[in-house]
Subunit: 353 residues, 2 copies
């Protein structure tokens, strides 16, 4: 196999020097149009491609960003991160960036991996997903001045106006708020919320969206609303039994809003046919069984993440300190996908144990 052409070969073919070829590729405005055309013709005829590693060695930039792929996505909703990954890859490609994957067993290991990738100059920026309160990863990245953006708010004191790092996120409050309002408008009054326990920022945010909508429009007393507030770990069985407990207690429920499609599936199993349920994430399952769901605009989220990382110039991945005074975060509003509410329902069959 013949040696691949280099800038020198192209320059030779076009009758110019290697640097001029380099300029045509990186700073076309420096080159006289006539020369540029000659060079471009030579590039095309030789089918020249810049050698990425050589460029990286010299520029100390890799135009590659790293993202961690979780060991094994959890349940149905795991596909959200996969879809985000799809979107990120496409958007990165459109901006001339590459996406490199890595795995890690825990946050400390992830820091080690990040460090390795960065020191090897393999990657010059990172996208973090599934961030949490006082995430050691973000602290480490800030300290070490590594460019990164998180999908998920820092959930700190004043994350909106004075964040410590770049972030993009989806406004879960508004998604659940819209969903709840939609159900209230359709005639329901007792709309239950089935969400995660504990205090993940995302979970609390979504729950607040429901509570605010209920307080504003349901006309129910606060303690009645409280009774409709359910907590369950993210699983079909868990969601199902949480809701069934409520029903067994004789509480009236007209509709259910859930923090995930997984919980929503559980809710559908527990409720009678005809009780509308709204999920979250709009996974393929929701589509398959005709479940209304809140869809996150992942393509826009991915695009936003990259735009923040690339900075206003949009040419290179820049660190936090070099950022301009532009907004340093983006919050996207999700969209409620309404499906025929009761076209299909799930029921326990007779032979069930």
């Amino acid at each position: 196999m013949a040696r691949l052409p280099t800038v020198t070969d192209v320059g030779h073919a076009a009758g110019v020097s290697r640097q001029t070829v380099s300029n045509v590729l990186n700073s076309p405005e420096l080159v006289k149009p006539a020369t540029r055309e000659k060079v471009e013709a030579a590039i095309a005829s030789l089918n020249y491609r810049p050698h990425a590693s050589a460029r990286r060695l010299r520029t100390r930039k890799s135009s590659t960003l790293g993202i961690r792929l979780d060991p094994m996505s959890n349940g149905i909703s795991g596909s959200v991160l996969d879809r985000f990954l799809h979107a990120l890859t496409e958007q990165a490609d459109a901006r001339g960036l590459r996406v490199m994957l890595f795995t890690a067993t825990d946050p400390e290991d992830e820091i080690r991996q990040i460090s390795r990738l960065r020191d090897g100059a393999d990657v010059d920026g990172f996208v973090l997903t599934s961030t949490f309160y006082e995430d050691p990863r973000t602290e480490w990245l800030i300290e070490n001045d590594v460019p990164f953006v998180t999908f998920g708010r820092p959930w700190g004191i004043d994350d909106l106006n004075d964040p410590l790092h770049l972030w993009v996120d989806v406004d879960g409050w508004s998604g659940v708020h819209d969903a709840t309002n939609h159900l209230l408008e359709s005639g329901a009054t007792h709309v239950s919320y089935l969400g995660w326990p504990s205090h993940s920022g995302t979970g609390d945010d979504r729950r607040r969206g429901w509570r605010d909508a209920m307080t504003e429009r349901s006309g129910l007393a606060a303690n009645t609303i409280d009774r409709l507030n359910l907590e369950a770990e993210d699983g079909v069985t868990e969601g199902s039994s949480a809701l069934r407990d409520l029903l067994d207690a004789g509480i009236q429920i007209d509709a259910v809003v859930c923090a995930s499609d997984t919980l929503a599936l559980g809710a559908m199993l527990a409720t009678r046919a005809g009780v509308p349920v709204v999920g979250y994430d709009n996974t393929p399952v929701a589509d398959a069984i005709g479940l209304s769901s809140v869809e996150q605009p992942l393509t826009e989220v991915a695009a936003g993440a990259l735009d923040l990382l690339l900075g206003p110039e949009g040419r290179e991945i820049v660190g936090w300190s070099e950022q301009s005074t532009e907004p340093r975060h983006r919050l996207y509003r999700p969209r409620l996908v309404v499906r025929e509410p009761t076209a299909i329902s799930l029921t326990r069959s007779d032979t069930s144990r």
Copy 2:
């Protein structure tokens, strides 16, 4: 931020030359143990990491492999490729390889992307998924002597004994065969098969698994078996209506084996509760609704793919021509995950249109 240490720095600290440091890293057997320890100590104390791009420039190897991420995975079963990606990343990591993603709009575009990544020395091997009859990608890769392995048989004349390239695959015949036998053993005689139309190698292979099992054990006449053979595009609605047509025609059906969990979900919607259905891929949905399903051993598949690509030495990605006489493919047997067959069933509700 201080400049990162280089081999020269390490050599200086250890009192040896840069090349010795390089040897410690790449050919430790050439270095005297005492010297090696000194160098290793220096590496640790300086926290030295080799600069990946510099190494790649010199060696013309990237230790990175590329894999295409489909634009948007189709339906429920799309998650299989995602899970394969997870497994591949983990296995690659264990072998010192990195995984880089790319996207493409069609096979021609994919070839263009592959060419770009390879010319840029970003990637030195590829993993192809979703291969099909006379795939232009494999032909191009073979012609251009690019190392690659496919997840999916070439489905050529003699793919098993004299394949044209490296491949790994899962034995769909055996998976469906096992599933069908399982149902027959549970007392069913009229086991229907709901698979894809057309002539994808994978689809035909799975269908054959059912037909062979039925011929061997059901005791039904060939034309009776034929009537139980259904075709539908991969969708819940499509699967559902195909099966309903059969039921409306008054054909007896004791159980259904499907080519995917998506079709299986459709089948569950169409059949009465109590008719066991087996899906394929063991997606999260199957787990959620208690659907038996055939699980592909994706971790092993990923490991096999890498082992083939790395060759017997296991040190570097080698092209086809340099392969030894070792087997050039791996076929893995899937495993039937049996779940409580009718714990939960899906039925159309009253308010359905």
